[in-house]
Symmetry: C2
Subunit: 346 residues, 2 copies
């Protein structure tokens, strides 16, 4: 906070709060907010949720249904010159704070918090490794246990969710199953499309295990793949390997992106790689560092991120391969080890 | 917008956007925002998510990973005097808008939107009815299919989630299973506690079916209930019935709360009813109108809300009974019909 001149930190929903305190705010219209000043830390929490809070290095200030929590926060905050507010805090509350604290300049809390969170401790890496191993087990089960042909994307995604929970995750957080032409939509939501023989299917899923996120993508072929699918998959696999090779300590984030992009551009698919190469991961599924053009920050030991190039051909197919990796002095620690080839499923 | 003097509406995550357009923003660090001015409506969306957007009465403005979406929004917004911003929009984005639009006063979008959303159309009531009927089917299956005794809360909650999806919900959104002393925590998160004979268990769950929410609570007894459990349950049941009787068109919201509270206070448990009586429901699980002291708004036809009094005895037990109801000229339309008694389970 001192580095950024913030004299007050206000955290609500999102991972900054559990990162500091172990407590996760419920994403509801009843405000939960940790107010940190130079001298005090107070968790303002709805009275009915106070029994959920384990004691920690903060005071607990429950508020009753007839009280106004933003007034309580304003009182506790004092008259800060600069307040850092949690990135995911609802604007409903920031708007109310703005009118009560007209002299205060607000910064996103990530300005303060991301320098802490971007460097993973050994325990945090262990948590990410456990989450990565769990989704790898799901990936190894898919060809043996999941039938794709003649079933909807939604039905397949339900099985992926179930296996993710069976393999130890507390929650599944996303479950992309994008088949045939739908695979050209990187964030496709699994729907009623019935998967057919010859389809290429992107499976991209993850959740939380002990508070840390998994996120992995593999691309499957339902029956024998077309020559085009084989070709595109080989380009993406080469691109993803180039990204892993480039991600050494001291390399700018954008150079990892460039390393992946060069392979895809050389193969003539540059226009079809329509997203950045990767994102940091930890307690949040997406956090710093982002592997994207324009991010010149150097990779440091303990930074954890995805490497996930893809090629998307509208109306035709899509391919993506994604691993979570941790930068380290002794080389890249790749947390996902599941088969990266174009595995054939039924 | 005109009523509230807003010359710009900015909607991101949350239900206001799908209410108006059918499109739901992904809750990620990549900004999705509908910008509505007097003349135009434009959906600013990450390029990789643009294939998800069905055509609607708005322009689509995809942004690439190397562009700055807040600058695009600022350009489209012009120089509004008053901008209404979606309640759940991440503060990360509002902070950036504040520095680019220093002359603009921001209001919560609910100021503009809730008057639309508080009155449910026939189709919306039909959607809420279908969601309510689905969770009623789950409740009727619980005594027949779910074993509580010697199992963890988490295991029971997993079964409730599965049944909610089996009965037609697209998503389960919460699944409170609070047993024994844990039931005294209204928002208890199901955990490792092993349920025992003699426990009272609150089951409070819901999700979304066709975009509309369910939310229902019943309290079960594992084996024969204690005299105390029977007594407390009877008080809550009488309170909940009093709330349903009071919720006529033209009644202030706070009077429904008072009707429930009077019964509980008369029985000597006033200090143990630690939350409001209810909340509105629709595309959001909690929305206006809130049945809480201080809300003098009168109930109108088509308003949908929960009635859910509870009694919480710390270290001992808790009881809650909840139905979703719709106010109407011909009487209260109670969407949940599942047995409200203290049903005995194994």
């Amino acid at each position: 906070m001192r580095v950024h001149g913030a004299d007050c930190l206000l955290l609500s929903v999102g991972s900054d709060l559990p990162y500091l305190t172990g407590y996760t705010a419920m994403p509801l219209e009843r405000l939960t907010m940790l107010v940190v000043t130079e001298h005090d830390a107070t968790l303002v929490v709805p009275e009915l949720e106070a029994p959920r809070v384990a004691p920690g290095p903060f005071e607990i200030h429950p508020w009753r249904e007839t009280e106004h929590p933003v007034e309580i926060v304003t009182r506790l905050a004092g008259r800060p010159t600069i307040a850092a507010i949690g990135d995911q805090t609802w604007s409903l509350f920031l708007v109310q704070l703005l009118s009560r604290m007209p002299e205060t300049t607000f910064l996103p809390a990530s300005t303060v918090m991301s320098e802490l969170r971007i460097h993973k401790s050994e325990q945090e890496v262990a948590n990410l490794r456990a989450a990565g191993a769990a989704v790898d087990r799901v990936l190894s089960r898919i060809p043996r246990e999941v039938r794709f042909s003649s079933r909807t994307e939604r039905a397949v995604s339900r099985e992926v969710i179930d296996m993710t929970l069976e393999e130890g995750h507390q929650t599944a957080q996303f479950w992309i199953v994008a088949s045939g032409p739908n695979a050209a939509s990187p964030h496709h939501e699994p729907g009623d499309r019935v998967i057919e023989g010859g389809d290429v299917v992107i499976v991209d899923f993850g959740g939380k295990l002990n508070g840390y996120c998994s996120d992995v993508s593999r691309t499957f072929s339902v029956g024998e793949p077309s020559a085009k699918a084989v070709e595109v998959h080989a380009v993406v696999a080469e691109s993803q390997a180039a990204g892993r090779a480039a991600a050494t300590v001291g390399t700018p984030c954008e150079e990892v992106d460039q390393a992946c992009r060069r392979v895809i551009e050389a193969a003539g698919y540059g226009q079809n790689f329509i997203h950045r190469t990767g994102h940091g991961i930890g307690m949040d599924g997406h956090e710093e560092p982002y592997l994207v053009e324009g991010n010149s920050r150097l990779l440091e030991p303990g930074m954890a991120f995805s490497i996930e190039p893809g090629i998307y051909l509208p109306g035709e197919l899509g391919v993506r391969i994604e691993d979570i990796c941790v930068a380290g002095e002794s080389g890249l620690d790749v947390l996902n080890r599941a088969d990266r080839s174009l595995v054939v499923v039924e």
